[in-house]
Each structure stands twice: as C-alpha cells, then as structure tokens.
C-alpha cells in the first residue's frame, strides 16, 4: 500500500487529538448516522411528492395509503414480512461483509446457485419427512451460496482480483447455469416451461394460525443472533476492526485475506439460504421467478441498515412495506410501483451523498482547527 510522507500524516494526528471537544462531539453525532438517514428519507419523500403531484395525486394521501396498506392491514403485514425475509437474510450477510470493508455485490448469483443446489437436494429426498427435507434443503442452499461466494473470494484473496469485479462476474456465470439447469437436468417434464419440479414435501409450512411461511422465523432468529455476534463476539470484533483498519488486524490478529475469504463465503451462504427459503416458501419451483434481483436490492437494504443487523432488519421491513404499500396504491389509485422504487433509489443516493458531504465537513473542520491551533502557537502564521 501507499505510505504518505511523514510530514503529511501529522495533520490527521492533530485533528484527532481531542484537544477540541467540538470535533469529537461532531464526529459522534455524525457517526450514528440516524440523523442522516432520516434526512435522506425525508428529502427523497419530498422528491417523490413532487412526482406524485405531477401525476395529479395528493402526496400526503398517497403516502397514507402506502403506510396503511402495508403496515396497518393483516394482508399487508403478511406480504411485507414475506418480502422482507429474503432481503433481510441476504442483507445481514452483506452487512457483515461491508462492515469489514469487503464488497460482495454478487449475492444475486449466490442466491441462484443456492436455489439450484437446494432444489437438487430436495428433489432426490422426496421420500423423507418434510422437516428433514427442509433442513437438508436449507443446508444445501447455504452450501451452494457459500461455494459461489468462495470462488470469488479465492480469486480476490489469492490473485488480488477486485472483489467487486469477482463477485459481479460470478453472477453472470450463475445466470446461464440457472437457465441450463431448468432447461435440462432439473426440468419438470410435465410442463413446457423452463422450470424445475416443485419442492413437494419440502415446502415450508405456515406458522400456526397464519398464512406466513416459517422461513420468516429464520430472519427473526438470525437478526438477534447476528447482532449479538457483531457486538459481543471476537469474530464480530475482528470484522469491525478489519473494516476500520485492516492493517491493524493483519499486524496483530490474522493473516491477510482470511477474514475477507470467510466473509464472502458466509454472505454467500446467507444468500443461498434466502434462495432456499424463497424457493420453498414462495416460488415452489426454480425457474423464471428465482432471479428477480433480491441480491441487488439486499445491497440497498444493507447500506440503509448502516451495516448493522438491527438496522438491516428495519431497512428490510421498511423497504418491503414501501413496495407492498406501493402495490396497493397501484391497485387503488393507479399509481405505479415504479414511483416508489424510484424514491427508494433516491434515498440510497442521498444517503451516500450525505455521507460524503459529512466526511468533507469533518475534514474541513479538523483542518480549520489544526490551522487555528498552529496560528495560536506560532504567531505570525497566516491562519
């Protein structure tokens, strides 16, 4: 890596010297990011309001419909939870990777391969009891996703291929693989469509007394577990340390590359798990409904969740609720879902832009403080 010359590292040392309480306070306030997130959402909703006005509707009424239809109605809740499940599961894996500074943008491919391995295993196990098939399918899905992530990880760690490039390219290998699998080896001979047989006994049952499949519980168990691991275990600690300063980890804890490898495989495994849950809980077959972009949307979920498991959970719920509500609004008001999706994308862009502006302010502020201190100590220096 590049070393900056000696003299230039001094400003950073100074800015962080804590001699100026304001700088720490400012940093703390910005670090939490809640303010930024709320601001971005509000700003994006305002942009959305303009678009809604242009369409000739009342923005407040539209937002009210979206909110009530997704969160204040039983069917809305159900759809929201079911949609949030794959997004949240993948999002948590990605949040782990992103938190450590490792870019996995190939969750889509990992999900596809997870779904393929899951359906393959589920198909040959049809005679077994449902619970056994489900566990085997879940594990197979995770193994498939982990394998896909690990291939990219190997290229990244061993051959220094940019992780963005490696994971993205693996998606383009997974997609034709999916097309082939449903066209030839796993094709359901009963139909002309390129799709697999159904999961049969491997279908996820509904939670007692509801019509929500039990895959949702996986998310509800995963979130607290992931949050606990991140905050209270050595592994979580290393992930955070790696993201903040990987060189310190390499000097004191582990060999370079180990953690990125594990995280790419692990986030792949979670994408694979989501692939299975979506297959056995919603789609029932592998086919055209398998690769619908959850892997990409989950990136947004992870970013909006600030790479923290609890945050990811709420981001997944929030994003799903918006989409479910938007579909209701489309039905009742004729307002396209695409509008809501646009607003979501705008939120993302506002958040990253806001982050960048924040960092710029912090940098400027600390430079100003350093200059002021210097001027104070060395009269005659132009401040």
């Amino acid at each position: 890596m590049r070393d900056s010359p000696n003299a230039t590292s001094t400003p950073t040392e100074l800015t962080t010297s804590g001699s100026h309480p304001g700088s720490t306070l400012l940093r703390r306030g910005l670090q939490s990011g809640t303010l930024l997130l709320a601001g971005s959402v509000v700003a994006a909703l305002l942009v959305g309001a303009i678009l809604i006005l242009w369409v000739g509707e009342n923005p407040l009424y539209v937002y009210w419909v979206i909110l009530t239809q997704s969160l204040f109605e039983a069917s809305g809740w159900r759809d929201t939870l079911i949609l949030a499940t794959p997004l949240g599961i993948i999002g948590i894996g990605l949040a782990y990777a992103f938190r450590a500074g490792v870019w996995n943008i190939g969750a889509e491919g990992q999900l596809i391969v997870g779904a393929i391995t899951a359906i393959a295993v589920v198909s040959v196990m049809q005679g077994f009891p449902g619970a056994v098939i489900i566990v085997a399918g879940l594990l197979a899905g995770m193994a498939g996703g982990a394998l896909w992530g690990a291939i990219a990880a190997f290229l990244h760690v061993r051959f220094a291929v940019n992780a963005v490039i490696a994971t993205l390219l693996m998606v383009f290998i997974a997609e034709p693989l999916l097309n082939w699998v449903v066209r030839v080896p796993l094709k359901d001979p009963a139909t002309f469509l390129p799709q697999s047989r159904t999961v049969g006994n491997g279908a996820l049952p509904d939670i007692l007394g509801t019509d929500i499949h039990i895959g949702v519980l996986f998310l509800f168990m995963l979130v607290p577990f992931a949050a606990w691991v991140m905050s209270y275990t050595r592994f979580g600690y290393l992930i955070r340390a790696h993201g903040a300063n990987r060189f310190a980890v390499y000097a004191n804890e582990s060999r370079p590359g180990r953690l990125p490898f594990m995280l790419l495989a692990m986030s792949g495994a979670l994408a694979g798990a989501a692939g299975f849950i979506q297959l056995a809980g919603v789609q029932m077959r592998v086919g055209s409904g398998t690769a619908v972009g959850f892997g990409y949307t989950a990136i947004i979920v992870a970013i909006l969740g600030r790479n923290r498991p609890i945050g990811v959970f709420f981001a997944a719920i929030g994003l799903s609720a918006m989409l479910v509500g938007a579909e209701a609004a489309q039905r009742s008001l004729g307002l396209p879902v695409a509008l809501t999706q646009s607003i979501q994308a705008i939120v993302v862009i506002f958040v990253v832009a806001g982050e960048a502006i924040e960092q710029r302010i912090v940098r400027r502020e600390s430079e100003r403080i350093a200059a002021a201190t210097a001027a104070q100590l060395n009269p005659g220096t132009p401040a």
Binding site: R2, N6, A7, T16, R27, N245, E253, T381, P382
Partner: protein
C-alpha cells in the same frame, strides 16, 4: 553569475502543532550543486515540496532570480523552470518510458506525439550516456534505470533549477557515483542550478559545491563550500550535539534470546544481530535505511530471502501474528496510525487487539489499565481522539501489560511530546529488569544514546557499525551518514 537562481527567505511551514520548517533561508546559484544535508524529519522533503509547488509555505518568501516565486502546483513550478525529481509515485509503472515522458509534458507543448517524445528521450539519454529503451514498461525496469528515467523526465522540460530528493537512495554505489557525476556536469556544463537533499555525506563530498545542514526544520549551518567542511563536522551538525550522553553502566547481560543470523528480505540484509536477556539493543540510522523492512520481516509479515531469526528457539519469520503473541513478544509498530491502533474503535476495544481478554470484560479491564499507564482518556473514547502520546501509551499498555519476554519497539517515541516520551522510555527500560530483551529501533540518536546498552547502525539495509558504551557520538554519526 551572482543573482541566485532560487532564493528561500525565512520560510516556515507548520503542520498543526508540528513545525516542519522554521525560518529557513538559503539560496542556490546558477552552475552550482547545493546539497541539503539532514536526517529524516529535518524538513528537507517539506522544503523540496514547497519549492516544487506541491506544498505551500506558512510564511516566508521564495524568489526565482529576482522575481517572487509562488508556485501553486507542480505545473506552475515547471513553467517557472523548476523541476523536482521525487522519491516516490512519480512514474506510472504500467506505461513505457516514452509515455511517462509524455505525461509530464504540458498539453500546450508542440511535441506531444509518441514518436517525438521517444526521439527526444533518446537524444537526451545518449547525451547523458544513459542506455534506456523508450518502449520498455517502467514496471519492468530496474530501480537504477527508473531513477535515470526520473532524471531524464525532469530534464525534459529543460529546467534551470533541478531539485533532487534523495536521488540515490535506492541505487548501488557504482550507480549512484555515475548519477552524481552527471548531476555535477548538469550544473557545471549546462549552467543549471541543482539542489539535492540527502543524508549521505559521501554524496555531499562527491557531488556538491556547497552544503547546508538542516536539523529539526532549521538551518544549523549556513551554506558553505564543501571543501571548507570536514565530514566529522557535518555529521555532528546533522545529528546534533546535545550533551545528555548519560553514560550507562555496562550491565551484566544474560544469554542471547533474540538471535538473527544472515537474515535477508527485500530491502534489508543480510544482517546478523543478537539481543541478550536484560539488554536494550539500539538500532540507529536515518529512516529509510531498511528499518521498516527489518520490522516487517521480524514480525513475520515479509517473506524472507535467506537467514534466520529465532527467539528462545522459536522461529520468528513468516509466522502468524497470534503465534508471535503466544511467544509473549510485544511489538510497538513504527506506523502507529496504520498498524497499532484502529482509530475509529474505542480504547477498550483497541486493548483487545491480538489479546485473549474476554470481549465482555473489555470495559472493566480497560479502566484500571488505562489509569495504570496514565492514558488520558476513557475506555469509551475512540482511539483516534487520543493525542499521539496517549495513543502510544495505549499501545504500550496493551503490549506490555503481560510482561513481554521480548520487546520489538520501532520508533516508539517518534513525534511524541516530551512527557510521553520520558514515560515510554522508562516503561521500555523497566521491562529489562525481569530479564526481557529489548530491540529498540530509533531514528533519534539522542534517545538511543540515553537508553541503549549497545548500538548498531543501519545504513542501506545493512548493519554498518556496532558501538558499546561509552558511545562515540561522532563515530556513530559518521556511520549513519554511510562513512563508517
């Protein structure tokens, strides 16, 4: 003849609290080579960067001939006829020699085609007697060839002032001799003004007409003809003459614990040394003479080419960081910001790095530890919010709390305030009472004179001298300047 090509008048540069340059004045005439001699951190590079438009002075004035000279970018400097040959980052390795020449040409130059640049390059190279293939990728060139290309590229704009920043730091003696001869000719035959900065006395003697010594950002001796100076005098001025040469008693030393034999890695060695139980071995030397490479290979991060390093019989090279910690070896890295601490994590979390302390107990454990090591701060504070001295104390608390058997300390007090420096020095010395061995690498000779039981000097990746108390400062200074 007597209008100086470039004049520096009362220039100061502050980086926050640190004074990189204080009231520096000097001038360089046409047709002469002016050497600026100094250790690392003496402010040489900062001065060069200001002259080349890469940095700006906080106060003071620059003159080019008689005109005020205020370069705001390297482009301005080149336009004014001032060109810098930098130590790093100046060439693009994935491009050919010709392309690198082109990159530095102004777009308004008439000659911006490859063939023109290639023929210019070859003409210039043959005039200086260089052998350079214009179509070779820079990444595939030897370091010597790269350095020559740097010089050619700087000369491409036909500057009347040429600035050279440690131009020979990566070259062999023979290579550097021929380069210096060319530098000399460029000044004397072409009537250019050449300023070159170095910490090598030998080069000053070989190439320079006049020499200025810089220490701690100040001119300690104004420019004087090289012929009027003695090597010993220059070396003494470069390293300073403060007389707290507290003569340390020769201690009774135990058996050797750290044994390094013919150890070699990229950029360092082969070198041998040993540190005994209860001993502080100081490694002196101007920064950039293989210390960081020695550090990397000793902590297992750099592949070794040959030789061995053992501690109490355990192999040290190419080991896992956790293994190092299991041998109870403490490590204070020279690159504090990058490898010692995670700035955006809390102090208590930083105390866990490489340790086996339970995560859940981090807070309870951290408080007394920070108090014991007098770290001004609290466990919840981000490490980045600590001052340099407190940050280093936090590192010391983590590394030394378990009474290490071996301490590898690299530049442990660099850039720290006097209080923290004294505290850390004492803490490091205290570890030896239990029979631990301390390897103390420092660019601060005064520090080593005060703490070390034995001093070795590193120069160009090699150990060039070994000294026992009472230390002869002048002899050490000469060794540091490569005149051992």
């Amino acid at each position: 003849m007597d209008t100086p090509a470039i004049t520096v008048a009362g220039v100061s540069r502050y980086f926050g609290l640190v004074q990189a340059l204080t009231d520096v004045s000097l001038e360089c005439r046409y047709g002469e080579v002016l050497a600026i001699l100094g250790e690392n951190g003496a402010g040489k590079t900062t001065l060069m960067r200001i002259l080349a438009g890469l940095d700006r002075a906080s106060s003071g004035q620059l003159l080019k001939r008689t005109e005020p000279y205020l370069p705001r970018s390297p482009r301005d400097a080149v336009a004014a006829g001032v060109t810098l040959v930098q130590q790093h980052f100046a060439l693009v390795p994935t491009m050919t020699a010709t392309e690198n020449i082109l990159l530095f040409r102004n777009r308004h130059d008439a000659r911006t085609t490859r063939s023109e640049a290639a023929s210019d390059l070859q003409a210039l190279a043959s005039r200086l007697g260089f052998d350079i293939d214009p179509d070779q990728l820079v990444g595939e060139m030897s370091v010597g060839t790269r350095q020559r290309l740097e010089l050619l590229r700087a000369l491409d704009s036909n500057p009347d002032v040429l600035l050279l920043d440690e131009p020979t730091s990566v070259l062999t003696d023979a290579e550097s001799d021929s380069l210096l001869q060319i530098v000399k000719n460029l000044a004397h035959d072409d009537n250019r003004s050449i300023v070159f900065i170095t910490h090598r006395l030998r080069e000053v003697v070989k190439a320079a007409d006049r020499v200025v010594v810089l220490r701690d950002g100040r001119v300690v001796s104004p420019a004087a003809p090289v012929g009027e100076r003695t090597a010993a005098g220059l070396a003494a001025e470069m390293v300073g003459e403060e007389v707290h040469d507290a003569v340390r008693d020769a201690k009774h030393l135990g058996d050797p614990r750290l044994i390094v034999e013919d150890l070699a890695a990229e950029g360092v060695g082969p070198l041998s040394l040993s540190v005994h139980a209860g001993e502080v071995l100081g490694i002196a030397g101007v920064g950039g003479n293989g210390q960081t490479e020695l550090e990397a290979v000793l902590i297992g991060a750099r592949r070794r080419i040959g030789g061995e390093a053992h501690f109490d019989g355990n192999v040290l090279t190419e080991i896992h960081p956790r293994q190092r910690i299991s041998y109870n070896i403490a490590y204070i890295p020279s690159d504090r910001d990058r490898t010692a601490l995670v700035g955006s994590m809390r102090c208590d979390e930083n105390l866990l790095l490489g340790r086996t302390t339970r995560l859940t107990r981090r807070h309870e454990d951290a408080k007394p530890l920070m108090e014991k090591w007098s770290v001004v701060g609290f466990p919840e504070l981000d490490a980045a919010a600590l001052s340099g001295g407190n940050a280093q104390k936090l590192v010391a608390a983590r590394e030394m709390e378990s009474n290490p058997a071996l301490m590898l300390a690299f530049q442990p007090t660099r850039g720290l305030d006097p209080g923290a420096t004294a505290f850390l020095r004492q803490a490091l010395l205290d570890t030896t009472t239990g029979g631990s061995a301390v390897l103390w690498v420092s660019a601060d000779l005064d520090e080593l004179l005060a703490v070390a039981d034995r001093i070795m000097v590193m120069f160009s990746g090699q150990i060039v001298g070994e000294f026992e108390p009472p230390f002869n400062r002048a002899a050490i200074g000469l060794a540091m300047a490569g005149m051992a």
